[in-house]
Structure formats: C-alpha cells, structure tokens
C-alpha cells in the first residue's frame, strides 16, 4: 500500500475527534460562550458511550449515549453561565475538573472490559480507486460526518437566517435582545449542540479509536480542540484543517521516528505543537481578518435588562 495514502488515512482518523470537538466548541463560541470544559465533557461522554456500548452491544448506542452525556454536562454549564451569569472561564474549568473526576469514578468498573467485535469500514465501490481508495475511503462514518459537518456549519452560519441570529447573539447580544431575539435560549441551544458534538468526539475515542476505557483516556485532546477554535479564527473549515494538521504532523513524526531519523524522539514529539503555532503565526498576520470572525461578545455574560 502506498505510504502516503496510508499517512493521509491515518491523518483523517487522528484528526476526526479533534474536528468534532472543535466544531462543537466553535458553535459555542459563535454564540458568545467560551466553554473550557471540553476535556471534562469528552471524558464523561467517553465513559458513557463505552458503558452503553458494552451493555447495549452496538457502538451506535454508545455514540448516542456519548452525545447525550455531552449534552447533560453542557446543560449544567449552560445553566450556570447563561442564567446565573457565572464567569465563563472559571465555570468551564470547574466542568473540566468535575468531568475528569466523575468519569474516573464512574468508569472504575469498566477498565479492562472489551467491546463486542467491531467491523472495519469502507465506502463500497470508491474504496477500490487507486490511491484515493486507501487514503480517504476506509474511514469510520464519523470521519465523513465531521467533514460534512464543517461544510454544514459553514453554510448554517453564513447562509441561513438561523445562523445569522446565532452570530448576532455572539456579536452584540444587547442589540439582538432589543430585536426580540431570545438571546439566552439561543445561547443554550448552541451550548447544548456543542456539548453533543464534544460528546461524540469523546465517544469516538473510547469506541473506535482506542477502543477501551481507562481514566484520563482523552489525554488533553479537549484542550487541543479548544486551541483549534482560536487557530481556526472561528471559521468551520479551518477547524477541520487545523485538526488534520495536528493529526497529520503527529503521525508524520511517528513515521520519522520509525524510519530511524537521527533526531531525538522528544524533539520530534514537539512537532505537532510547533507546526500548529507556526501555521497560526502565518495565517494571523492580517488583524482585520481576525476581528471579522471573532465573536464580539465572546466570554461576556449577558443579562436581559441589565
């Protein structure tokens, strides 16, 4: 099999959970809410999904459970931040802490457990294409979902009336409120949707990627996903690109290691992080671009009539 094709396939697989979580967080942030609890949400969803799939027998049950767990965690966050107007950053951190502990606690009985045999996925017909078949068409359905989602969210945000409302809520909530828009309800909807996507991402790790449960499974990918939304300057397609960049450089540095390249492995391990910083530095040079895309009211609490 062509090595480059394999690298591309591995990149897509590696980037998918980051992309899903990143897109969810993007929705949050476009509505003006910063959710630093991504790591906690992903962990709780990972154990919820694993437990559901273990008892229920199918990974789709697991994905549903994971998404629901993400929504539940996001709901707690949303209530605190949107209705009680607590500090978004602190509340998000609390969510992460809580989720880490809760998932470890609940998951004690599931360590060392195995899920039913899973199948490998491929797109019938297209998988036989030379090069592209191996590179792109052997992925789990969620990988294609992530790609479609990026396009879908971009269309939603920039071409649909509902998306415009969402963006206005994130830009200038007071003005939106004056126009009769239910700001808090929309923010909640965005937070819940974001939670569902982070939940899917977490469940993907425990159901498909590893697939297993141990505490701390997510290993910091929630924070990377958060960083990716700023990397992407809040544009959905860029979230996808950032996720694949990160995943791709990770796989590339492993490949370099296994080929015996004479660079210390620790320095190679730094590469995905350095690459992300370098690309961000390059693409951020136009400040106007960032101002256009960054939600104006990001992180600020909103109270109607305040």
């Amino acid at each position: 099999m062509n090595e480059v094709a394999l690298l591309i396939a591995a990149t897509i697989a590696s980037g998918t959970p980051l992309a899903l979580a990143g897109l969810g967080l993007l929705l949050n942030e476009k509505a003006g809410v910063v959710n630093l609890g991504a790591e906690g949400m992903m962990l709780v969803a990972a154990i919820a999904g694993f437990a559901a799939a273990y008892h229920g027998g199918s990974q789709w049950i697991g994905f549903s459970a994971g998404a629901l767990a993400g929504v539940a965690m996001a709901a707690v966050f949303g209530w605190l931040v949107i209705w009680l107007n607590t500090n978004q950053y602190a509340t998000g951190l609390a969510l992460s802490l809580f989720g880490t502990g809760l998932s470890a606690f609940v998951g004690i009985g599931y360590v060392g457990k195995k899920l039913a045999e899973r199948s490998t996925f491929e797109v019938p017909g297209l998988v036989h294409l030379p090069f592209l078949g191996d590179a792109v068409f052997r992925q789990h359905p969620l990988a294609y979902f992530a790609m479609a989602l990026a396009l879908g969210i971009a269309w939603f945000l920039y071409r649909s009336p509902a998306g415009l409302i969402l963006r206005s809520v994130g830009e200038a909530p007071e003005s939106a409120h004056a126009l009769g828009i239910e700001v808090r309800g929309i923010r909640l909807a965005a937070v819940l949707a974001g939670g569902a996507l982070c939940g899917l991402a977490g469940a993907f790790l425990s159901l498909v990627y590893a697939p297993l449960w141990v505490e701390g499974l997510v290993s910091g990918r929630g924070w990377i996903a958060l960083a990716l939304t700023t990397f992407a300057t809040w544009r959905p397609a860029r979230v996808l690109a950032g996720a694949y960049l990160f995943g791709g450089v990770t796989m590339l540095q492993f490949q370099l290691q296994s080929e015996g390249v004479q660079i210390a492995s620790q320095l190679l391990t730094m590469l995905p992080y350095l690459a992300t910083v370098a690309v961000l530095a390059l693409i951020s040079r136009n400040p106007a671009w960032i101002r256009i895309n960054m939600p104006g009211a990001l992180g600020k609490p909103f109270h109607p009539g305040a």
């Binding site: 195995k114 590893a210 697939p211 290993s219 391990t269």
Partner: protein, 376 residues
C-alpha cells in the same frame, strides 16, 4: 459597591476560618514519633503500596495491585493493606510516603522509579519501617530494592515474532527510553534474530506514560511502515487492538490481554508481583528482612509468557518452552554475547553471559533496531 476584589478574600477567608475552626476543635497532637515495633500477634501488620498510575490502568499499577490482593488473600487478618494511587513522582511523593510511615505502616512498597529520592529521605527518618523500592538503585539499612525481568518474556515473544512475521519487520511502541525498556527492545530483537536473522525492529517513542489514543497512532504508524508484529511497553490494550484492526499480530503486556483481540494476540508478557510481595511480608513477620536487591524473573515465577495463541506453529511453541525451561533452570541467559549495538560497536563479547551490572547499564539498541535514543 464593595470592591469585587475585596469580596473574594472576604469570601475565601470565611471558608478558611471555618476550616480552621473545625481544625481547632479536632486538633491532633504533633506528628507522632516513629512507633516501636508492635507485637505482630496482637495487631495486624500494616503494609502500604504507592502507585504511580490509577489502579484501573489495566497495566503496570494494576499488576502491582493484584500482588497486593494476593497478600491479602494469603495473610487474611494478619495484614492490613493500604494503597495510594496516582501519586506523582515529584515533590508530592515524599509527603505521601512520610504520612504512610507516620500512620503505622511497617512496610511500604513504592512501585515506580521516580519515588526513589523521596523514599530515601523518608527512610532516614523512620528506622523501624521497611521501605521497598521497585526498579531503583539506592538502598539503606531499612530500604531495599526489587525488580522483575521483563526482558525474559520479551525474548520469548521475540522468538515467536521472528517466526510469525512475513515482512521481517517488527514494531515496538515505547513510552520513555528508560533502561528497562531498552533491555526489553533488545531482548525482543535478539529473540527474533535467533530464529530469523533477517528481521529488523522499528521503535517509536510516544514520550508519555499514558495516552491510549496516541498508542494507537504509534501502532498505526508502525504498521503503515511495514511492521506486522508489534510489542509495546505501554500499558493499555490500544496497540493490540490497533494491530487487530489492521490484521496484524501483537502481544499483551503487563497482564493477560488475550481476551481483547482473538486474531491478533500471539501471547502476553506478564509480571506476577504477588509472589515477591508475599515473601516480603513474610520477611517482616519472621524478622528476617534485610537489605538486598531482588531481581526475579521466569525462574521465580515473577515473569511469564502466557496464552500463546493456537495460530503459533507447534515447533515455535516447542522452542519457546525449551527456552522457558532453560530460564526456570537458570541456565538460559538472554543477554549472551556476541552483542553488537546499532552503531556497530560491540557491547558484549562472544559467549559471555551478561552480569547484573551490564544489564543495569544498557544504554544502547542492538543491531537490527531502527530507532533513536537521545545521545549524551
């Protein structure tokens, strides 16, 4: 309007005041002096274990905890065990170990290298307590060492790998390039080369103890590079399951992982710490405890290669059994010269059997291994 900043310390001071009040009500005495050895008949012997990871990691710490449970099963009421998991190997370890000693534990096991300095300092203050450190090198009158020979099952795994590979490329997923891991990679490669001189081993370091998705990534990258049999020293089943997904072979590590991937699993390299722990407890009870360094392997039942798969041909199984018998008899030494490293330098002369000191100082990868370790 109250300055928001003042609010914060007003608020926090109330909490602290409440806590201090509660503390004042229940004030204990100063740190108790190390207790005199209590008569073992009246009270159970208190023993404590310190783990670096969660007990539920199904790997290194899990295996040690099984050992602790074996002690409980063996001694029942005569022993009371305590465990503290996820203790970071930095400055916190000293506090945890000191507290365990102060609480009356008479023997404390620290199951990771990074606890060495901390344990050494605490041992100086508690002469009546016995301290046991895994995988380290510092001792004292009341502190000794124990370790296992994972390189023995690694060698046997290598023999199987050498025969089962079709691409003549093996893969190894490593966490950190510490000496034990280097020994294991070398043993794996030597074992494979003994039945198939053409093999090479590719090594990839994930540079963290714990990140199963990254283990999957590393395994996938090795497979993409042509490896079709994988070994690891990381703790989860991710590598095995990735191999399974790709239709390749792999081994279990630290515990029996045969249930996780029927097709991919060739065998599991395990450690059974229970035997040693039971002996250590007995030493304390019989008052025969003395400072030494115990390194046990297949011979003493500490290490083993288990659940060899049916797909492995009979002649290979037979060879592995022969090697195992040799290890049990003490006649088979994995590191027997000539051994050349992958820069071409000779590390062990022909027909020499490596001694413990040589094995402790392994800082190279043998010929046939493609990979790097940071140079001095």
């Amino acid at each position: 309007m109250i300055d928001p900043s003042r609010r914060s310390w007003l608020k926090a001071s109330v909490i602290i005041a409440a806590a201090l009040l509660a503390a004042a009500c229940g004030k204990k005495e100063e740190a108790p002096a190390p207790q005199a050895a209590a008569p073992a008949k009246a009270e159970p012997l208190k023993a404590a274990w310190v783990y670096v990871g969660p007990v539920g990691d199904a790997g290194w710490s899990f295996a040690h905890d099984l050992g602790r449970k074996a002690v409980e099963a063996e001694y029942g009421d005569k022993v009371k065990t305590t465990l503290v998991e996820k203790v970071p190997e930095g400055a916190d370890a000293e506090r945890v170990i000191r507290d365990l000693a102060a609480q009356g534990n008479k023997i404390i096991f620290a199951t990771s290298f990074g606890y060495m300095e901390a344990m050494f300092k605490v041992a100086a203050d508690f002469p009546d307590v016995r301290f046991e450190h895994a995988t380290g090198y510092k001792t004292a009158a009341n502190m000794r060492l124990y370790d296992s020979k994972f390189y023995e099952p690694s060698y046997m795994a290598g023999v199987i790998a050498g025969k089962m590979t079709r691409t003549n490329t093996l893969g190894f997923v490593g966490s950190f390039p510490i000496p034990e891991v280097l020994r294991n990679i070398n043993a794996f490669t030597l074992g494979a080369q003994s039945v198939n001189p053409k093999i090479k081993t590719k090594v990839v370091w994930i540079n963290t103890w714990f990140d199963p998705p990254k283990e999957s990534d590393a395994a996938q990258s090795l497979i993409n590079g042509g490896a079709d049999v994988l070994l690891q020293n990381t703790d989860s089943t991710a590598v095995l399951q990735t191999a399974d997904k790709n239709g390749k072979f792999a081994f279990g590590w630290d515990s029996d992982m045969s249930g996780f991937a029927q097709k991919a699993h060739l065998a599991s390299c395990v450690a059974n710490w229970g035997g040693y722990y039971k002996k250590a407890i007995k030493d304390v009870m019989d008052n025969t405890w003395k400072t030494d360094r115990t390194v046990w392997g297949v011979k003493e039942g500490m290490n083993d290669l288990v659940k060899v798969a049916d797909v492995v041909p009979d002649d290979v199984k037979k060879k592995v059994d022969e090697i195992k018998q040799g290890m049990q008899a003490g006649t088979f030494e994995v590191f027997t010269g000539p051994i050349v490293d992958n820069t071409g330098k000779e590390q062990l002369a022909k027909d020499t059997k490596a001694d413990q000191e040589w094995k402790d100082k392994v800082a190279f990868l043998v010929k046939g291994v493609e990979g790097t370790i940071p140079a001095k």
